[in-house]
Amino acid sequence: MPPFREYKFLLSRRISQISIMLLFAVGNLLGWHMLRGNLSTSRVLGVLPLTDPFAVLQIFAARQFVSWESLLGALIIILFFALIAGRSFCSWVCPMNMVTDTANWFRKKIGLAVSGKSPVISRKTRYWVIGMSLAVSLATGIAAFEWISPISMLHRGMIFGMGMGWILVLAVFFFDLFVQGDGFCGHVCPLGGFHSLISRFSLIRIRHRKEKCTLCMKCLEICPEQQVLPMIGKVSSAVTSGECTNCGRCIEVCRDHAMKFGIRFSPENP
């Protein structure tokens, strides 16, 4: 059993992801008011609205207005992640993260991940998919991504019944396993792309300390968004890219304590 510090964030994330889904499911099954709805739209304790801002954006693109409550809910989500938590929705809330993490764990275990091989698709694809989502919403008059989103099918399925929704979730699993490592969450998903865009200036950041680094490169091996770590072994600074999901895996694998959670502004950061 590895020491606790090597999986404390991983465990916390799983607890966070599972308990959020459990609260939703129990809310539906037993009528608890703690958390009701799903990750698209929900109410906390029967009053506080939370809305997926990317869904609201698509509804606007579909030339429709949403209620003030939903607008407020989207604003709360945007402010929380943009100002404080960064792109942590992807690694601490979204249940699809468990699916893709499993796929990528297998991918590495059975040697499908060949380092240095050029990617099948670009990491910028997700931003194109955002543009497509909005364009298709405009053309069809319905929120385009919400209709095909494997994420929604997964969390809605976990709360209200899966139906045939597992097919698309399995497709995501196989896509990550065989086609492209970190393919869905790190290349394609427009919701992750949206959270990347709004998280550019958030407070909570991974920080790197060059003087402690021994260049083992474990952090880069484990990171699902390696392009956010160009400073490793070169400069001491915060990871400022919005594409970092604050999952904390780099902190856990670093034996030299060269990575830690911190805040964006700090004296050692010039």
Binding site: G73, W128, V136, F160, G165
Partner: protein, 261 residues
């Protein structure tokens, strides 16, 4: 290759791929959104707007004390993730506080569509204004129209004697009995589906369909002179009634006599 040219090429390639993807996506959704027979919760805005506004959160489903509403799962052959009724299994019970409608956070279910406003303009919920759909009777399989006594739909109707009445028709076959035939009235039918569930035939002979699917619309110029207010429908209609066709444009009156038939 110069930086600028490389950038432009990359952008053009991305735009091309995105266009292909977007077209496929649009085509797929266009086929997916046309489910004309889906029955929405009380207070649902028109289907086109509903499909755009509903975020598929399921709060209306959770609010329903009878678990009558369900979210469409992949494979249900309904717009994915949206709430709908299956009347034969579990119809709407028309709760007075309409918990499903008031629970909607996005405005896809609008309480004002199922509310009355009093003299001061204060709105109060009135579940009888619900228009989920309209009950339709297949007279050929309805056993009441065969002359067998059955009034299951009539008895279960929450708007009994308004939404469903029973009409006495002479039974021509026997010459001495009456047929007690149920008749649905669209002015009062809420589309709750209680009749569809109660129907005793193997497959329901009375069933709910969306209103726009089963109702016609008469022209404004046909006025029911025996109803004092019906003439008001004429107010916005232009007085000129001339119909212009390619032929009448040339000679509206005399084409019969001009020999160019």
């Amino acid at each position: 290759m110069p930086e600028r040219r490389k950038f432009l090429l990359t952008m053009a390639r991305g735009l091309g791929a995105a266009t292909v993807g977007g077209l496929v996506w649009t085509g797929f959704l266009d086929g997916k959104k046309a489910y004309p027979t889906v029955l929405r919760p009380p207070g649902a805005v028109p289907e086109r707007d509903f499909l755009a506004k509903c975020t598929k959160c399921g709060l209306c489903v959770e609010a329903c004390p009878y678990q009558a509403l369900v979210l469409a799962k992949p494979g249900d052959e309904r717009p994915l993730g949206t709430p709908y009724f299956r009347m034969r299994e579990n119809p709407c019970r028309m709760c007075r506080d309409i918990p499903c409608t008031v629970s909607c956070p996005t405005g896809a279910l609008d309480p004002s569509l199922v509310s009355d406003s009093d003299d001061q303009g204060k709105a109060s919920l009135n579940v009888n204004r619900t228009r989920i759909g309209l009950a339709v009777i297949d007279r050929e399989t309805c056993i009441a129209y065969w002359g067998i006594q059955c009034d299951a739909c009539y008895r279960t109707c929450p708007v009994i004697d308004k939404a469903i009445t029973v009409e006495h028709i002479r039974n021509e076959r026997t010459g001495k009995h009456a047929i007690l035939g149920p008749v649905v009235h669209s002015d009062f039918c809420t589309g709750c589906g209680m009749c569809e569930r109660a129907c005793v035939t193997k497959k329901a002979a009375i069933f709910v369909l969306p209103r726009q699917l089963v109702m016609g619309e008469s022209s404004d110029r046909y006025v029911r002179g025996w109803e004092s207010t019906d003439e008001e429908r004429m107010s916005g209609v232009p007085e000129d009634t001339t119909t212009v066709t390619p032929r009448s444009e040339k000679s509206p009156l005399d084409y019969l006599n001009k020999g160019d038939l």
